[in-house]
């Protein structure tokens, strides 16, 4: 589903990714973690063409992404993205946020798009918020709307870039619950997160990045019990995971 080879990304002289490679099978659930500045966000943003890259190849959901991201629109919703800051469209109602891309990109007729969107909102238990504007919702509700918006495009891959980092602690759970729910449905997912409980229960594979390289990748059991690198151990100790 995803084949990224030798990704190189730099901002001027500062090199952010030093040749990162990753292969993800269909239906696989990957958690990406690491200290801030390790390049994990940049890496997922390279995968869906939000960041140009200086080297390497990306093949995702059946599309080859060019290095300058000129063909990024060919992905056309096949790769869903959930952002730390939600990035909902503030001038549109929740329902219009969901239907916009369905109508414009998938050319779904208005009525059908609204029916699909309402079904998606019902799944997220947000039916009564359909006519609200994003600013009227709590952070957790906004992030669930953002997830619903991406899912409406029927993506083959979902990327989550620190989806709970901007939320108040009491809202983290409702978002993680939705993501756990999704992970049970065979969707290919890459999740950048510091929520190690989520990583442990959901991930097929955990990838630890540090200073622009993949330092370690393992199944959750091995990753938490027997991390092989000193940096991984230090990271786990710093974020206070006790397993």
């Amino acid at each position: 589903m995803i084949v990224a080879q030798n990704l190189i990304k730099s901002y001027g002289a500062a090199k952010v990714l030093h040749g990162v490679s990753l292969t993800v099978a269909a239906g696989e659930r990957i958690v990406l973690c690491g200290p801030s500045g390790s390049g994990k966000s940049t890496f997922v943003r390279c995968l869906n063409g939000l960041e140009e890259r200086q080297g390497g190849t990306v093949e995702i959901a059946g599309h080859c992404l060019s290095a300058d991201c000129a063909n990024v629109l060919a992905l056309a919703g096949d790769v869903g993205m959930v952002f730390q800051q939600f990035n909902l469209f503030p001038h549109l109602t929740v329902l219009d946020n969901l239907t916009l891309a369905m109508r414009r990109v998938r050319r779904t007729p208005h009525r059908a798009a609204e029916e699909e969107a309402m079904a998606m909102l019902a799944r997220m238990q947000l039916t009564e918020k359909a006519a609200s504007y994003p600013r009227q919702l709590s952070g957790g509700q906004q992030q669930r709307v953002a997830i619903a918006r991406a899912l409406c495009m029927k993506p083959k891959v979902m990327l989550f870039d620190e989806p709970t980092s901007a939320l108040d602690p009491e809202m983290v759970k409702e978002v993680l619950d939705v993501m756990t729910d999704l992970s049970c449905q065979g969707l290919t997912m890459i999740v950048v997160t510091h929520e190690m409980g989520f990583a442990r229960s959901v991930a097929d594979r955990i990838i630890f990045m540090d200073r622009g390289t993949i330092l370690e990748e393992a199944d959750p059991e091995t990753f938490f019990r027997h991390p092989s690198h000193a940096r991984t151990k230090e990271f786990l100790r710093q974020i206070g995971t006790q397993y």
Binding site: L73, M81, F86, V105, Y133, P134, R135, G139, A150
Partner: protein, 245 residues
């Protein structure tokens, strides 16, 4: 101050009202229509688009409107090529000249406001569009520009008042709008006070009505409140309301 002259001058100024409204509204609409493509060009990646428009806005914002009006009305007529061209029947008319000069001038100001509004939108908005596969056109039409226009609506209302006041310059090229009519009346009666009081009050009244109209529009557009008011989200808010000219 003579009440007799005051009463006399009311119909005089009123006769210019129609031309004032024509010049104001036509100039405003022309300005808005031109401002959008110019504003988009100002934010374009290509310097070939950006530089000519940046030069244009620099020239039009940096020199007095009266000078621009004279150049357009008296200056261009010197050239045979202009007099022979298809636009001559249009710019031969002083009213059209005033509308074009005011429209071009207003477009330069509003283009800068639009470009500023676009730059102040959080980059996450465009990124969300890209990740959903929205085309560049749809991104602008459905997501970015609606937010920009909602944010700059007060500035556009302001611009309409500025254009109204600028329309008084049309009298300099013989257009008998309200100020022109008032000046002609003064030349006959040597009594400038009364007639300009009347003109000033009428300008105030029109501006007041424009203001009400804009607040009405503002309330009718869905989502304006949702953008302007602060919510409790952790999202950094675009400070686009302060877009200055």
């Amino acid at each position: 101050m003579s009440y007799e002259i005051l009463l006399q001058s009311i119909p005089i100024v009123y006769a210019g009202l129609k031309l004032t409204l024509i010049v104001t509204l036509a100039g405003f609409v022309l300005g808005q229509a031109l401002a959008l493509p110019l504003g988009l060009a100002l934010t374009a990646r290509s310097p070939l688009l950006r530089w000519p428009v940046a030069t244009h806005t620099f020239l039009l914002r940096g020199s007095p409107l009266l000078v621009q009006l004279f150049i357009l009305y008296y200056g261009l007529a010197q050239f045979d090529a202009v007099r022979a061209s298809a636009i001559w029947p249009i710019i031969r008319e002083p009213v059209n000249c005033a509308i074009i000069a005011i429209g071009l001038n207003s477009a330069a100001y509003v283009a800068v406001i639009i470009a500023g509004g676009l730059k102040r939108l959080p980059p996450g908005q465009a990124e969300a569009c890209i990740s959903l596969g929205l085309s560049r056109f749809s991104r602008m039409r459905d997501v970015l520009l609606p937010q920009v226009y909602r944010a700059i609506l007060p500035s556009i209302g302001n611009e309409l008042i500025l254009v109204l006041k600028a329309s008084s310059l049309a009298s300099a090229v013989t257009v008998m709008e309200m100020s022109g009519a008032a000046r002609a009346f003064t030349a006959k009666t040597y009594a400038p006070f009364e007639v300009f009081i009347v003109a000033g009050l009428l300008y105030l009244a029109i501006g007041f009505l424009f203001g009400i109209a804009f607040r009405f529009v503002e309330r009718r557009i869905p989502g304006v409140a949702a953008i302007g008011k602060s919510g409790r989200a952790a999202q950094p808010r675009p400070q686009a309301l302060g877009a200055s000219s």
